[in-house]
């Protein structure tokens, strides 16, 4: 029986590469995941209005069910799922009104006992980065990597407990462990424009340009993320930027688990590397 795992809706469809590469890499490292027997959408966005408990019900239901698996942990990799599940779990643990109302809606008695974990935390705590160093078959020596956390992993710091709200370091530690070189990347927790891609193209295009430029200034060869929406925003606009500006040079945007898969020499087909807009294949030749 593996560690209970919540993939989330996007990972079964548009971000299948994130799901496939997460399962394949963690399994290769002895960290088997078992998908929850039944699950629904987590709701994606944590509600910020104090009385909006309805916006927490979906996550609360997933958490209450996952607690019955008896492992005490729930792993999820999409940054949105991780953010909302962790914040709702925090509310269930620390906010009396939230706990009473949500349990009443759900006819459950769940009090936030689970630990909601990101695979980066599993790699650090269950496997250990020193051990990961000895497991990578193909050292990505000298590959310059920009670690892009986006806005969801580390904020709010008190609830997410993912390091400094604007300067987390876990992804960089991971990159070092697979033998690559994290660049100094001041835009690592800037927002890519997020769901405003539906509403305001200029906003997203502006933020994405800033982030790509900051990555390129440090000679990054690849940007890594754990968020399907960051991945999409940073990736799909690059064709358009290249059309608009002949001097624009593209940079591949991968899930961190895909980079891990490359380091572990897992076959490209299992990592979903074919589904990106900017072709990451040239990276496979490097090193």
């Amino acid at each position: 029986m593996g560690i209970p795992y919540f993939p989330g809706c996007t990972l079964h469809v548009k971000a299948k590469g994130l799901d496939d590469s997460t399962r394949a890499t963690l399994a290769a490292l002895g960290l088997e995941l078992t998908e929850l027997p039944e699950w629904t959408c987590c709701g994606t966005a944590f509600p910020l209005a104090q009385d909006n408990y309805m916006g927490m019900v979906a996550s609360a239901r997933i958490l209450a069910k996952a607690a019955k698996e008896g492992d005490g942990r729930l792993v999820t990799v999409c940054s949105f799922c991780y953010n909302v599940l962790k914040r709702v779990n925090f509310a269930l643990k620390n906010n009396d009104e939230a706990r009473t109302k949500l349990n009443a809606y759900l006819e459950e008695n769940y009090n936030g006992e689970l630990r909601v974990l990101h695979p980066l935390e599993l790699l650090r705590d269950d496997l250990g980065f020193d051990s990961l160093k000895t497991r990578v078959d193909r050292k990505l020596k000298g590959m310059k990597v920009a670690c892009y956390y986006g806005c969801m992993l580390s904020r709010p710091a008190k609830e997410m407990e993912f390091g400094e709200p604007e300067n987390p370091a876990l992804m960089e530690e991971f990159v070092k462990a697979v033998g690559a070189e994290p660049v100094d990347f001041p835009y690592k927790t800037k927002c890519c424009g997020s769901y405003q891609v539906l509403n305001n193209y200029d906003l997203v295009a502006g933020r994405v340009k800033d982030i790509l430029k900051a990555a390129r200034v440090r000679d990054s060869e690849v940007i890594i993320t754990s968020c399907p929406l960051c991945q999409f925003n940073l990736d799909w606009l690059q064709d358009r930027f290249a059309d608009e500006d002949k001097s624009f040079s593209k940079i591949p945007v991968l899930y961190f688990t895909q980079l891990l898969g490359i380091a572990l020499e897992i076959s490209v087909a299992k990592l979903g590397l074919d589904n990106h807009y900017v072709d990451p294949k040239p990276l496979l030749q490097a090193g």
Partner: protein
């Protein structure tokens, strides 16, 4: 909605006190919406302090990405993202919204990750 009602409702929904704001502008300087917002978060806070209800009709509240950079940086400890959400929520509960499904271009819809739709419609659609 009178200006008193608005102030009370924003406080209630956000759990934040806009009068704590000292107008330093750090939130505006940090905001993801720079360049597209007509009023940046510092100005939104000032409108609230002055009880100007027209802030409810402001475009900026719909440009916010709830990225929490402002919240992380405010030296007065105000969760500004919650204030922005309170202003959206007052609108959404009256049926005033900004995003309709038919506004999303088909080419984008074919490509975009699912969670962008769920989160976007949760924040921007009544």
């Amino acid at each position: 909605m009178t200006s008193e009602e608005m102030t009370r409702k924003v406080k209630e929904l956000s759990g934040q006190n806009p009068y704590l704001c000292m107008q330093c502008g750090l939130c505006s300087a940090s905001c993801t919406g720079i360049g597209v917002m007509d009023l940046l978060p510092r100005q939104v806070m000032r409108f609230l302090q002055l009880g100007k209800e027209e802030i409810l009709k402001n475009r900026s509240i719909w440009m916010c990405t709830t990225c929490l950079i402002c919240t992380a940086r405010c030296p007065r400890g105000i969760d500004i993202a919650r204030v922005m959400e309170a202003l959206r929520t007052i609108n959404l509960r009256k049926g005033n919204d900004i995003l309709a499904p038919e506004d999303v271009p088909a080419e984008l819809l074919a490509e975009i990750p699912q969670m962008a739709l769920t989160s976007g419609f949760r924040k921007l659609s009544a």
